[in-house]
């Protein structure tokens, strides 16, 4: 139980580091001088001490929504697969609940965007609504297919089952599901082919547009939420699609898990450096690829058993 709680604490603490790590890697690859590795924590602590500027046009939703953006994601952290053998884990919560909790957080984020009566907020919400609506079917089909291979719909149980018994016999559908899930990871977290988290240009903004009018403590909550969302997806990818290292000795297992998280970050950073952001109306093509791969994964599993 202590291990369980401390894992969650470690994940929360690691979250700003990971998103910052992607930024550092990108800056390094673009021959810029990288920021400090602790920049994420510095930003967070600075935001905590700043005053909150509320918009005159906004309503009570602005004061409620930031809490409800973060809390479903924090709750999701409790349901992730274990990272070491013998650790307590919640075996029963299935991926629908996790998808639902993430959607709940997105729902309030979109309301937050509409609340400040600025056209930026509406723009961001509208685009986010469009993207997340198309992410949903791919997500559920991928989950369906991975749960077949893992013999359990519960995410925690699926992680353990995959680590104990790697599905060699279903390698094809496993890889298809992995590709689909990785596209979803990028789309849900607003990384480059879908959204550029570093720009404030209205042509390209999605996530940043929604939170343009949020400041101080509320902004800290939202920023924490986005980095925690990334770590949720990264650790789900690490446990479900790179299912090894769970049965190693405790410290080694934790180390392997953290390395896997950093590996995901490296891939994301490389994709960001080497790719351009897609036009908004090209994004459905990318998500369509995810949907097709998840269907393929299911069909190969059913028909070929491979």
């Amino acid at each position: 139980m202590i291990l369980y709680i401390s894992t969650i604490v470690v994940l929360i603490l690691l979250a700003p580091l990971l998103t910052n790590f992607i930024k550092i890697l990108k800056m390094y690859l673009l021959y810029k001088k990288p920021v400090s590795i602790f920049q994420g924590y510095r930003d967070f602590s600075k935001l905590l001490s700043k005053e909150i500027v509320l918009s005159k046009e906004s309503s009570s939703i602005t004061q409620i929504a930031p809490f409800l953006v973060l809390s479903p994601l924090l709750l999701t952290l409790f349901f992730l697969p274990p990272i070491a053998k013998g650790e307590y884990y919640v075996s029963f919560v299935d991926a629908f609940t996790i998808t639902g909790l993430i959607s709940l957080s997105t729902f309030f984020l979109m309301l937050l965007g509409l609340d400040s009566a600025s056209s930026f907020g509406g723009l961001g919400s509208s685009r986010e609504a469009f993207i997340s609506a198309l992410v949903e079917p791919a997500m559920i089909l991928t989950v369906f297919s991975i749960s077949m291979m893992a013999n359990s719909l519960g995410v925690g149980q699926a992680g353990v089952n995959l680590a104990n018994h790697f599905p060699y016999e279903h390698m094809a559908s496993f890889i298809f599901a992995g590709i689909s899930f990785f596209i979803l990871l990028i789309a849900e977290n607003g990384r480059i082919p879908v959204d550029n988290p570093e720009t404030h240009l209205e042509l390209t903004m999605v996530h940043e547009a929604m939170i343009l009018d949020v400041s101080g403590f509320y902004l800290a909550l939202i920023e924490a939420a986005s980095s925690i969302k990334f770590i949720i997806f990264a650790s789900m990818f690490a446990s479900l699609f790179m299912p090894f290292g769970l049965n190693l000795p405790l410290l080694l297992a934790i180390l392997v898990f953290i390395l896997k998280l950093f590996f995901v970050c490296v891939i994301v950073a490389l994709m960001e450096v080497n790719g351009a952001k897609l036009r908004l109306f090209k994004v459905p093509n990318l998500l369509g690829i995810a949907i097709v791969f998840s269907f393929l994964s299911l069909i190969t599993f059913y028909v070929l058993g491979a």
Partner: protein, 626 residues
């Protein structure tokens, strides 16, 4: 004459849950209605007729109350006549509901062998000996789904619901559609008893298409009540997906899985009743205050109408199937029963079911987008019109109606085991397997009974969310942060009501992506300054979407009828010779068809006689071209 078994009692309970908050709301709304006596007498007759349908034991009583329900609701739509559109909507509703009634009558005439006083059990023996059960099934589908509003018989909903007074639309959408679902349960289990696999697949397909079509048209709509009506189509689709899965599993002899799917369908029926009534009440309050149904004229109402806004928010979260609300729980159950399709042996069926998983998942994603749009445009931001500026909170009775319905929504979330127990009893009473103990081994968590199924625990989720939010809030209070109020940042300009995103703009990306379905009618007028296309003083942009089914199925039906009637008109030359030729041909065709279809059938005589008919028609009627 009447029966009170578990199924009837359950639906009486549903009607009571839907009606009691509605009564409060309705009396609050009464000051808004001019013809009070007319309204009240039809309103109560409507409620009683719905109860009458669910307790009637024989065909005659069922038909009587069914027709009474249709007629009273038709009259209720006509309570407040605002121009021709109301009358047209009412006429359309009248036509569609009687289209269904004809099929219901046909069904009963065959199922009871002409003696309409037989009860459902007696009908079963007649139906089981009837040679073409699929024909009867199609009668049931046409009769009930035209009432429930499933594709392709859904077109009346977006017209009839907005035209009715708000309490009535809450009742019609929340409760009356569920009476049709009651009929589906009653006829399928009590009259048919057994069914073929294809019937279940048909219901599943209708459900999947309805859910997608409903939510897509809801997104393009900016009349708030028409939008909610389109969402009723979506939710009926979701219920039918659950029901169809139940039928499929049942015909494959997977008893526990089929019970699970039927329970999911019943649960979603209850949930849809609760949140859709609440949404219609909220929309009615907004409409009552702002005097317009156009969402583009709302905005900022959360400041003046907090209770309406927060109950509406609760219902929005629930209908978007977000945890831990009741809408999420029932959609979760339906997803679980779709995922348990992996135990089916029939490979083509097994491959087909992921497509309905896809439809349902896309539906729930789009529903979230749609309710962000509804809530965000209606209640957040700045007032978009003078009407919205002068809105105040509605009166006490209307508020209490909404709050009571909010409690119904919350009770469905908190007391899920209790409700599931009720549904399980009903399913058990319909000769299915009882699975309550498997779904709820303890009252804390809801188990799927699929082979590798998941578990969800509404109470733990709710408690977890509340505790974490509370901890964050305490942390926030401890930091003791200063707050300052300032303008929204708008690149140095002031924000005004017209620079906000509109409902049309919000749905823009989705409308553009699904443009093949919407085929929107876009009008863009601007006054151009001295020939420069990019500069204009005044611009007007409007989008109108006409539903595909109306455009194709219904309009082309009308066009076909027109064409046929034109040819018939051409035949009539008002000459005695022509009329006698028509009579002769009619006589010939009656004699021939009697010989072919009743007396004895053979392909050769059919061919010969049709050739003779064609020659006779050609020579006597059409004649040579002059």
């Amino acid at each position: 004459m009447f029966l009170f078994d578990n199924l009837s009692n359950l639906f009486i309970f549903l009607i009571i849950l839907g009606v009691v908050p509605n009564l409060f709301y309705s009396f609050g709304y009464l000051s808004h209605i001019k013809r009070k006596f007319y309204y009240l007498i039809h309103y109560f007759a409507f409620i009683l007729s719905m109860i009458g349908v669910v307790i009637s034991a024989n065909a005659l009583v069922f038909l009587l109350f069914w027709e009474l329900m249709s007629l009273t609701s038709w009259q209720l739509i006509l309570t407040q006549i605002e121009g021709k559109s109301t009358i047209r909507a009412a006429r359309f509703y009248f036509f569609m509901t009687h289209f269904g009634f004809v099929f219901l009558l046909l069904f009963f005439l065959i199922a009871t062998n002409g003696n309409l006083e037989l009860n459902f059990i007696q009908m079963k023996s007649i139906v089981s000996h009837f040679a073409y059960p699929t024909l009867l099934f199609f009668f049931v589908v046409f009769a009930l789904l035209s009432k429930a509003g499933a594709v392709p018989l859904h077109v009346w909903l977006p017209y009839a619901h907005p035209a009715a007074p708000s309490p009535v639309s809450a009742l019609m959408s929340g409760v009356m559609l569920k009476v049709a679902i009651y009929g589906l349960f009653r006829f399928m289990f009590d009259v048919f008893g057994v069914w073929q696999l294809e019937w279940g697949v048909l219901v599943l397909i209708i459900g999947a298409i309805s859910s997608l079509v409903g939510v897509l048209y809801a997104l393009s709509e900016h009349d708030i009540k028409a939008l909610l009506a389109n969402h009723s189509i979506e939710n009926i689709g979701i219920i039918l997906i659950g029901f169809g899965m139940g039928m499929i599993f049942s015909s494959l002899h997977l008893a526990t899985l089929s019970s699970f799917a039927f329970i999911a369908a019943l649960f979603h029926t209850f949930n849809h009743m609760s949140f859709k009534s609440l949404l219609f009440m909220g929309a009615g309050s907004v409409l009552h205050e702002t005097k317009t149904k156009n969402m583009e004229k709302y905005g900022g109402l959360i400041k003046s109408m907090p209770i309406t806004a927060f109950t509406f928010l609760l219902a929005s979260i629930s209908i978007s199937a977000l945890p831990p609300t009741n809408g999420f729980l029932s959609e979760w159950m339906i997803f679980q029963s779709l995922l348990s399709s992996s135990v089916i042996d029939n490979i083509s069926l097994k491959l087909a079911i992921p497509f309905s998983v896809f439809a349902l998942a896309l539906t729930s994603g789009l529903a979230i987008a749609c309710f962000v749009k509804v809530f965000g445009i209606t209640f957040l931001g700045l007032h978009r019109s003078q009407n919205a500026k002068h809105a105040t909170e509605v009166n006490f009775l209307m508020k209490s109606g909404m709050v009571l319905m909010g409690f119904v929504v919350i009770s469905l979330m908190l007391f899920t085991p209790f409700y599931i127990k009720l549904f399980d009893n009903v399913i058990y009473g319909l000769n299915q397997t009882s699975i309550y103990d498997k779904i709820f081994p303890n009252i804390w968590s809801l188990h799927s009974i699929a082979y590798n199924g998941g578990v969800v625990s509404p109470l733990i989720l709710l408690a977890g969310l509340l505790i974490i939010t509370f901890i964050l809030y305490v942390f926030y209070k401890m930091l003791n942060i200063k707050k300052r109020v300032f303008h929204t940042w708008a690149c140095g300009y002031n924000t005004s009501s017209i620079t906000q995103y509109s409902a049309t703009g919000f749905a823009g990306p989705i409308r553009r992506f699904f443009t093949w379905l919407y085929d929107p009618d876009i009008h863009f007028e601007k006054e151009i300054i001295t020939g420069h296309k990019s500069k204009f003083v005044d611009a007007k942009f409007s989008v109108h979407v006409e539903p595909l089914f109306e455009r194709t199925l219904y309009r082309s039906g009308v066009r076909l009828t027109n064409k046929i009637s034109y040819y018939i008109y051409r035949l009539a030359h008002f000459e005695q010779r022509k009329y006698s030729a028509i009579i002769f041909n009619m006589l010939l065709s009656v004699l021939f068809s009697y010989r072919i279809f009743v007396h004895e059938f053979s392909w050769s005589t059919l061919a010969l006689e049709s050739v003779m008919m064609i020659i006779s028609v050609k020579i006597l009627l059409v004649g040579s071209k002059r």
